[in-house]
């Protein structure tokens, strides 16, 4: 009885599968992303443009909650053999995805199988490099990239008798400006968003100091976190001192501190370059964008900053996919063509000007520059210039971060920083504790991913 029922079901399924071919239905490509409105709508508009540009494939975008939720949903779908073709994954998930083995089909392979070339040499090195394997192969397609920059409130600067057109460039100048701002009655001279990303990861890259051993994890799964170094201890110590003196305010984890600048509360903030669009919308004062500050006495500083944001990963259908990844040749072809569409300079240029994310390729940057966009929008090119600082020559400390379980490690850093800001521990203790806890995560990850 059961065999007969299966036979009927199989026949029915075969009939269903035959039907689209007969009706020339487009092949569907599932595409999961983690961008809420308005960014999600802008991304889906690009997808709609692609769908309108040809008939053979239809990309189906689907919003799956924020980045972490999207990551979890995609992994669960893979385990259930229903993974989407393409998933947007934030940069902290990169280490986990790199180690995912046969769950992932590298983007360079998807493109090569379809005989499509994308010139990855045209991508900004800090962006493409973040998503490349150790031997330089492109593992995922960079798309929405940001970096951290500094915003300052010119009205506050005027009130404190500071030159509103001269943002502080070094931490010494930041501290001096903060003293003046505080004296002028401003309750929150300096704050930060993304404490771990900006104050630990970016600071390490800017000063060419390793965040982790093994070239920040690019060299292998046996990397260990190394943030309990003199520079980071000094920096966290400074932040703690400034906090006690009322010069610095801790704004909360992740993006929670974003709100403190556009609402006019804080004079200086360090946040994602994407905060620019929000500030344009909400700020009722004059402001500017500048590069992140650095310690002038550190030799070689400043180098390029590193990126944040997300890239697109191609997934096999499930654990039992085999050599075809459980998908038809048509599906792979459609996936490759859609990726190539996303990599076009005009798509990247449009995404950059509409959203405030970075132009990911040099061609896109030049295209936008030629339109005079940066003259009309002063400061919009600061993040790009900052990424190219140090002559575009990255060191192994400024290439990015490739650590497994990094979502957890970033939270560990934020937790230990919070305990330090509460006065429960010194800077050295906080960073030692973060290293100790993170290394447990790294060793677990290494063990889980050993073949």
């Amino acid at each position: 009885m059961f065999t007969r029922r299966i036979a009927i079901a199989a026949g029915f399924a075969a009939g269903l599968a035959a039907l689209p071919a007969a009706a020339q239905q487009p092949v569907e490509i599932q595409f999961w992303h983690g961008l809420a409105q308005p960014l999600g709508g802008q991304l889906e508009q690009i997808v709609a443009d692609y769908n309108a540009s040809q008939q053979r494939f239809r990309v189906v975008p689907s919003f799956r909650g924020g980045y972490p939720e999207t990551m979890v949903a995609a992994i669960a779908a893979f385990r259930a053999n229903t993974a989407p073709h393409i998933v947007q994954m934030f940069e902290v998930g990169t280490g986990t995805m790199m180690a995912a083995g046969r769950a992932v089909r590298p983007v360079h392979q998807v493109l090569a199988d379809a005989n499509i070339t994308v010139n990855f040499a045209d991508y900004l090195p800090a962006i493409a490099g973040y998503y490349q394997s150790t031997d330089g192969q492109q593992m995922s397609l960079p798309f929405n990239s940001s970096t951290a920059v500094m915003f300052w409130n010119k009205d506050h600067f005027r009130r404190a008798g500071l030159n509103p057109d001269e943002p502080p460039q070094t931490w010494e100048q930041v501290a001096a400006a903060a003293q003046r701002l505080k004296a002028a009655g401003i309750a929150c001279p300096v704050t930060t968003s993304w404490p771990a990303w900006v104050q630990v990861e970016q600071m390490s890259a800017l000063h060419n100091v390793p965040l982790a051993t093994q070239g920040n994890g690019f060299g292998g799964l046996n990397a260990e976190l190394a943030i309990n170094n003199p520079l980071m201890v000094r920096h966290l110590n400074n932040l703690m001192t400034w906090q006690r003196e009322g010069l610095f305010r801790y704004g909360g984890r992740d993006s929670a501190g974003d709100a403190l600048f556009p609402n006019g509360e804080c004079s200086i903030t360090m946040a994602s370059s994407g905060v620019r669009s929000r500030t344009i919308r909400e700020a009722r004062f004059e402001w500017g964008t500048a590069m992140l500050p650095y310690y002038a006495d550190v030799a070689g500083a400043p180098r390029n900053s590193i990126i944040g944001g997300a890239s697109f990963w191609v997934l096999n259908r499930g654990p039992q996919g085999g050599a075809t990844g459980g998908r038809s040749a048509d599906e792979w072809r459609g996936t490759a063509e859609f990726l190539a569409f996303l990599a076009r300079p005009e798509v990247a240029a449009r995404w950059h000007t509409e959203t405030g994310f970075l132009p990911v390729t040099r061609t896109a940057f030049e295209q936008v520059r030629a339109t005079g966009f940066y003259q009309q929008n002063p400061g919009a090119d600061v993040p790009i210039e900052q990424l190219l600082r140090g002559g575009g020559q990255m060191t192994e400390n400024t290439r990015g971060i490739r650590l497994g379980g990094y979502v957890e490690i970033r939270n560990i850093m934020q937790e230990e920083m919070e305990k330090a800001f509460q006065g429960q521990q010194t800077a050295q203790q906080a960073l030692d504790a973060a290293v100790r806890r993170a290394n447990v995560v790294l060793r677990n990850f290494e063990r889980q991913n050993r073949n």
């Binding site: 979890v72 986990t96 934020q414 937790e415 800001f421 889980q448 050993r450 073949n451």
Partner: protein
């Protein structure tokens, strides 16, 4: 007289039990079994490589200072939420039970918060107590109180306790009110005639008669504080600052869903399951003895 229903044969009773048993099996036994199995493994997030590690995950969890911290947080949090929610609800129920003008309006208003989803409730509290955008948060700071629950662990804990208890007061209120209304007038009148003042009447007559309700609510409130407050904590503090508001259930979520460390998360949920089963058994064995039905 004991009334007994005796079925002929075994098929019908089994059939009648089947839906309940199926629900229990699918929604409790199966996932619980999965959790126990998973707790003995170390596995990569994608499920491609797994290794049997025996009780290693449990050893790691029980020796993790952060898990012990979460255990302490859970104890403080659950006891405070239950005590606050029960105390306030009882007070309100006693007041609403009196013959006052507009009693029905009060009752309706008091029941309302229960209809609010935990995450929405948390957002309401956030808009009240956020240090820079919250109404009360700003007022506190303006009045010279250094209110910042994002950096002060004690304040964060206070806030999640109050927000969680507020949501549960309505539920307790309904049950206490029903319990109060079922107390026979004659008993109270007799006590009054014997010269017992209101306060004494409450402690010696009303409260003992309410004890079955109170006991039931105590169990429900503790289970609520253990499991159902995830949304409030997630939306208000995310377990922070530091790990000041990370409860056991929140840590299960953080380790399993955010950190994708399935073995550790499964081990924690198994321990949590044992804890709650144990707690409920203790309550039924010792607390129930003092309950008058």
């Amino acid at each position: 007289m004991i009334k007994r229903v005796i079925f002929k044969g075994q098929l019908l009773p089994l059939l009648l039990l089947a839906p309940q048993l199926a629900v229990t099996a699918v929604f409790f036994l199966w996932p619980a079994g999965q959790a126990i199995y998973q707790s003995l493994l170390q596995e990569d997030p994608f499920g491609l490589r797994r290794e049997f590690v025996g009780t290693e995950n449990f050893d790691a969890v029980l020796n993790d200072p952060l898990w012990l911290n979460a255990l302490g947080n859970t104890a403080v949090f659950s006891v405070s939420v239950a005590a606050l929610a029960l105390g306030v609800a009882l007070l309100l129920a006693v007041q609403a039970d009196k013959a006052i003008r507009g009693a029905n309006l009060y009752k309706t208003m008091l029941i309302w918060p229960y209809a609010v989803a935990p995450a929405v409730a948390a957002v309401l509290w956030l808009f009240l107590f956020h240090p820079s955008i919250g109404l009360i948060g700003r007022a506190l700071n303006a009045a010279g109180v250094a209110w910042d629950y994002k950096l002060n662990g004690g304040q964060a804990m206070l806030l999640v306790i109050v927000a969680s208890a507020w949501k549960q007061v309505s539920y307790n209120f309904i049950f206490f009110l029903a319990g109060l209304q079922s107390i026979p007038r004659s008993v109270l009148e007799a006590a009054a005639i014997d010269g017992a003042r209101p306060f004494r009447r409450f402690w010696t007559v009303v409260f003992p008669l309410l004890s079955p309700t109170s006991f039931f609510l105590l169990v429900v409130n503790l289970v609520y504080a253990f499991f159902d407050t995830f949304g409030v904590i997630h939306a208000l503090t995310g377990g922070g600052p530091g790990n000041a508001t990370e409860t056991l259930i929140y840590k299960v979520y953080v380790d399993g869903v955010q950190n994708l460390n399935l073995g550790a998360s499964a081990a924690q949920s198994v321990i949590l399951m044992v804890l709650v089963v144990g707690l409920t058994m203790v309550q039924f064995r010792f607390v129930e003895r003092r309950v008058h039905y």
